[in-house]
C-alpha cells in the first residue's frame, strides 16, 4: 500500500505543476457556477406590470378593474391605467408593460344582454408567460360571468318558465363557482439554480481527471519508468492503484472546494456537510473506477485522451450536468440514472430541496458505489493481462 501512496503522491505533484489542473479543477467550475447564479438571479420571483384600458363605464368593467387590484393578485401584478388600446399595445411592444387588458365599449351592456362580448389581452411574443398569466386572469373573471349566464340558460333549458327569467338572472348573480383550486405549499425548499449547477459543474470538470492517470501511465511507459517500476517487487495492481489514488484525491479535492466555495459565497445550500461529503466521495470513487478502465482499455496516450473525452462528455450530457435533467422527458430521467453523475446530481437535488432523510442519500451513494465496483472490477480483471510484464 505504501508503494501505491508513493506513486499517487508523485502523480499528484506532477499534476498540480501543470496549470491546466488548476483551471479545470477549480477556476472553470467556479466560473461557470457563478455565471449561472448571476444569469438566473431574477428567475426565482415573478411579478408583472399590466396595463388596463377600460373603455366601458358599466358595472362589470368596474368589477374587473377592481378585481385586478384586489388582494389575491397584489403580489403578482402591478396595475397601470392606460388611456387607449394603441398606447397599451405600444407599451407591451416596448416591454414597459408585460401585458395589457382592454375592456371594450359596451362590454357590460352586451354581456348582460346575452350578446357576444370579449375582454382583450394584449401580450408580446417575447413575454409569453406574462401573456399566459394575463389571459388566465381574464379567463377567471370571464368564467364567473359565463357560469352565471350558463346557469340561467340551463335552468331555462330544464323547463323553467320564461316569465321567471328576471328572477333567475337575479338569483344567478349570487352564485359562486363551487370548485376552487387552492394552493398548498409542498413543504419542500425551492431549488436554487446555484445549488444544482455548482455540483453539476464541479462533477463535470472533475470527470476530466478520468484521463489524467492514463496519460501519466503511458507517459511513464514511453519514458521507461514503468519498466523500472515493474522491476521492483510490486504487483501490477499496486501500480494501477497508485495511479488512480491520485485521481481520487484530485477529484475529491476539486469537487469539495468548488461545492464549498459555492456554499459559502454563492448561497448554495445542501443542509450541512455530511451529505455533500458522502456524495463527493462516492462520485470520486466512480471517477477512479473510470480512470482505471481507461488505462486498461487504451493502448496509447492518444487513445486515453480519446476514451477519456468520450466518457466525460457522454456522461455529462446524459447525466444532466448541462441541463436540469428532472425537467426533461421521463426517458431522459431514467437514462440519467444509469450514470454515476446522474445519481450524484439526484442526491444534490434532494439535499438542496430539503429532502434530507437517510434514504434520499443512501440510494445515490450506493448506486454510485455499485457503479464503481462493477467498472473497477472490470478494470482489475483486465489489469492482470495488461500490466503483467
Amino acid at each position: 500500500m505504501r508503494a501505491a501512496v508513493v506513486i499517487a503522491t508523485k502523480d499528484l505533484r506532477q499534476r498540480l505543476r501543470d496549470r491546466s489542473a488548476l483551471t479545470i479543477g477549480l477556476i472553470a467550475p467556479l466560473a461557470v457556477a457563478a455565471l449561472m447564479s448571476f444569469a438566473f438571479r431574477n428567475a426565482d420571483t415573478f411579478h408583472m406590470n399590466v396595463g388596463v384600458v377600460v373603455q366601458d363605464r358599466g358595472e362589470l368593467a368596474s368589477a374587473f378593474r377592481a378585481g385586478l387590484s384586489g388582494p389575491e393578485l397584489r403580489d403578482l401584478v402591478s396595475v397601470h391605467v392606460v388611456a387607449d388600446p394603441r398606447t397599451a399595445a405600444k407599451q407591451v411592444r416596448d416591454r414597459t408593460l408585460d401585458a395589457a387588458f382592454v375592456v371594450p365599449v359596451d362590454f357590460t351592456r352586451r354581456t348582460l344582454a346575452g350578446l357576444p362580448a370579449e375582454i382583450q389581452v394584449l401580450s408580446s411574443t417575447n413575454a409569453r408567460i406574462a401573456g399566459q398569466v394575463a389571459s388566465a386572469i381574464a379567463s377567471s373573471f370571464a368564467a364567473q360571468v359565463n357560469a352565471d349566464r350558463l346557469s340561467v340558460a340551463t335552468a331555462m333549458a330544464a323547463g323553467s318558465p320564461s316569465a321567471r327569467l328576471d328572477a333567475l338572472e337575479s338569483a344567478a348573480t349570487q352564485l359562486r363557482i363551487p370548485e376552487q383550486a387552492v394552493n398548498h405549499p409542498t413543504g419542500a425548499k425551492q431549488l436554487k439554480t446555484i445549488s444544482y449547477y455548482a455540483p453539476a459543474m464541479a462533477i463535470f470538470f472533475a470527470l476530466f481527471s478520468v484521463g489524467f492517470a492514463g496519460r501519466s501511465f503511458f507517459a511513464e511507459r514511453r519514458e521507461g519508468t514503468l519498466d523500472r517500476m515493474a522491476a521492483a517487487p510490486l504487483r501490477p495492481s499496486t501500480i494501477l492503484i497508485g495511479k488512480v489514488l491520485s485521481v481520487f484525491v484530485y477529484s475529491l479535492a476539486s469537487m469539495l472546494t468548488v461545492v464549498g466555495i459555492s456554499g459559502l459565497f454563492f448561497g448554495a445550500d445542501w443542509g450541512g456537510p455530511t451529505g455533500v461529503v458522502a456524495l463527493c466521495v462516492a462520485m470520486s470513487l466512480a471517477i477512479v473506477a473510470l480512470s482505471a478502465l481507461v488505462i486498461v482499455f487504451a493502448r496509447t496516450e492518444q487513445q486515453v485522451q480519446a476514451l477519456g473525452s468520450i466518457i466525460v462528455f457522454t456522461l455529462a450530457v446524459l447525466g444532466g450536468n448541462f441541463i436540469t435533467v428532472s425537467a426533461e422527458p421521463a426517458l431522459m430521467r431514467h437514462v440519467a440514472l444509469l450514470t454515476p453523475n446522474g445519481w450524484a446530481l439526484r442526491g444534490f437535488l434532494d439535499l438542496a430541496t430539503g429532502a434530507r432523510s437517510a434514504g434520499n442519500l443512501v440510494q445515490p451513494v450506493v448506486s454510485m458505489l455499485i457503479f464503481a465496483v462493477i467498472v473497477g472490477g472490470i478494470a482489475i480483471v483486465r489489469s492482470r493481462r495488461v500490466l503483467s510484464p
Binding site: 461557470v32 388566465a136 368564467a143 335552468a155 376552487q180 425551492q190 473525452s309 426533461e328
Partner: protein
C-alpha cells in the same frame, strides 16, 4: 501549391484522430437531440394529477385538464409521489382530486382542489393561472347544473348534460388574446433552438481543441522541417489557417444537414445563413490558431479549450437565451463573439431576416475574427522566423 500541401497534411492529421470524429459529429448531434427534446416541451406546463375519486364529474374535470393545451398532464398514484416529483421539478404542480369530490359537488357543497406547487417561480404563476381557468370552467358547468336542478327540477346529471349543451351554444364572454408583435427575440423552441446554438458552441470548442494539433506540430519540430524547404512563413500560416477554416466549415455543414434532414430545422435565408457560417468559421479558425500558439502542451489546449468554450458559450447565449438574464449579464455576454452569432441566428430563424438584417452582427464577428487571426498569425510567424 505549398499552402495546399501544408493544409492537406495538417488536415489529415486531425481527421485521422478518432476523437475528433466524436467531437465533430457524434457529440453535437447527441447534444442537439437532448437539448431539442428538453426545450421542445417548454411551451406546455407539466402538471401531475392524483385522481382519488373516479366519479363521472371528477373524471370530467381530469379530462378537461388534459384537454387544456397549455398543460401536459401526467398521472401519479398518490400525493406523496406527486409531491416528490414537484420537489424535483419533474412537474410544476400537482393537482389532487379529493376522494369525495363527485359526491360533494352533487350535494351542493363547495370543493377545494388542492394544488401543490413550489412557492415562488415564474412558472408557478403561469401554472396557477392555467389550472384556475380549467377548474373554473368545469365548476361553471357544475354550478349551472345545480342551479337548474334547484330552480327547474330534474336530475343533476340531466342538467349537467343540458349545461354542457348550453355552454356550447350560448354566446360567452370570451378572452381574446392579441399578440402585439410578431418579431421574436427568442429562437423558436425544440430543435430550431438547439441546432443553431449548438452549432455556435461546438464549432468554436472544436476549433479551439484543434489547436492541440498545432502544438503537437510545434513539439515535433515539423515547422522547422517545413521551413527548411523553400516555403515562406506566410505559406505555412495560410496553410494552417485553411485547415482550421475547413474543419469549422465541415462541422457546420454536418450540423446544418443533420439538423435539416433529421430534425426539420429551418436554417433561414440561405445566403445570409451561408455568410454567417463562413464568418463563424473564421472566428473559430482565429480562436483555434490562437490556442495553438498560446498553450504549451496539447493537454492544456484541449482541457482549457473546453472550459473556455463552455464559459463563452454560456455568456454568449448558447445555453439559455440572453433575453432572460439581467441586463448587465446581457451586456457582458455581448463581449463574446458567441452572443453576436446567436443574435444573428435568431434574426434569421425567428424573424425571417436576410443578409442586410444581420450586417451589424456579421461586421462585429468579422472584427472578432480579424483580431484573433492577426494575433495568432503574428505569434505563429514570430515562432517560425525566430
Amino acid at each position: 501549391m505549398s499552402i495546399l500541401a501544408i493544409a492537406r497534411t495538417a488536415g489529415l492529421r486531425i481527421v485521422r484522430d478518432r476523437t475528433a470524429l466524436f467531437f465533430m459529429i457524434i457529440l453535437p448531434i447527441v447534444v442537439i437531440v437532448v437539448v431539442g427534446a428538453v426545450v421542445s416541451g417548454v411551451d406546455r406546463i407539466r402538471v401531475g394529477v392524483v385522481a382519488e375519486d373516479d366519479g363521472p364529474v371528477s373524471s370530467a374535470l381530469v379530462a378537461q385538464l388534459r384537454a387544456n393545451r397549455s398543460l401536459l398532464v401526467r398521472d401519479y398514484p398518490d400525493v406523496g409521489v406527486g409531491k416528490t416529483a414537484v420537489r424535483r421539478s419533474e412537474i410544476s404542480a400537482l393537482i389532487e382530486i379529493p376522494p369525495d369530490t363527485d359526491a360533494s359537488l352533487r350535494r351542493g357543497a363547495t370543493v377545494q382542489i388542492p394544488v401543490y406547487a413550489n412557492d415562488v417561480s415564474q412558472n408557478a404563476q403561469a401554472v396557477d393561472a392555467a389550472i384556475q381557468s380549467t377548474v373554473g370552467a368545469h365548476g361553471a358547468l357544475v354550478q349551472a347544473a345545480r342551479f337548474a336542478t334547484v330552480q327547474a327540477g330534474g336530475t343533476f346529471d340531466a342538467n349537467l348534460a343540458r349545461a354542457r349543451h348550453a355552454g356550447a351554444t350560448i354566446p360567452a364572454v370570451a378572452v381574446h388574446d392579441i399578440v402585439v408583435d410578431t418579431k421574436s427575440k427568442f429562437l423558436p423552441n425544440g430543435f430550431n433552438y438547439s441546432a443553431p446554438t449548438m452549432l455556435v458552441l461546438f464549432v468554436f470548442i472544436n476549433s479551439l481543441a484543434a489547436g492541440a494539433a498545432m502544438i503537437e506540430t510545434r513539439r515535433l519540430g515539423m515547422y522547422e522541417r517545413i521551413a527548411a524547404a523553400p516555403v515562406t512563413a506566410r505559406s505555412i500560416v495560410l496553410g494552417e489557417m485553411l485547415v482550421y477554416v475547413g474543419i469549422a466549415l465541415t462541422q457546420s455543414a454536418l450540423i446544418i444537414f443533420v439538423g435539416a434532414l433529421l430534425f426539420g430545422v429551418h436554417w433561414g435565408n440561405p445566403l445570409a445563413a451561408t455568410a454567417l457560417v463562413f464568418t463563424w468559421a473564421l472566428v473559430g479558425a482565429g480562436a483555434g490558431m490562437l490556442a495553438g500558439t498560446l498553450f504549451r502542451t496539447p493537454e492544456q489546449s484541449t482541457s482549457i479549450a473546453v472550459a473556455a468554450g463552455i464559459i463563452l458559450g454560456m455568456l454568449g447565449g448558447c445555453m439559455w437565451p440572453l433575453e432572460i438574464v439581467p441586463a448587465g449579464m446581457r451586456a457582458i455576454g455581448h463581449l463574446t463573439p458567441q452572443a453576436w452569432a446567436v443574435d444573428a441566428w435568431t434574426e434569421l430563424l425567428s424573424r425571417g431576416g436576410t443578409l442586410t438584417d444581420i450586417t451589424r452582427q456579421l461586421i462585429v464577428l468579422i472584427g472578432f475574427a480579424l483580431v484573433l487571426v492577426t494575433i495568432s498569425v503574428r505569434r505563429l510567424r514570430h515562432s517560425l522566423v525566430t
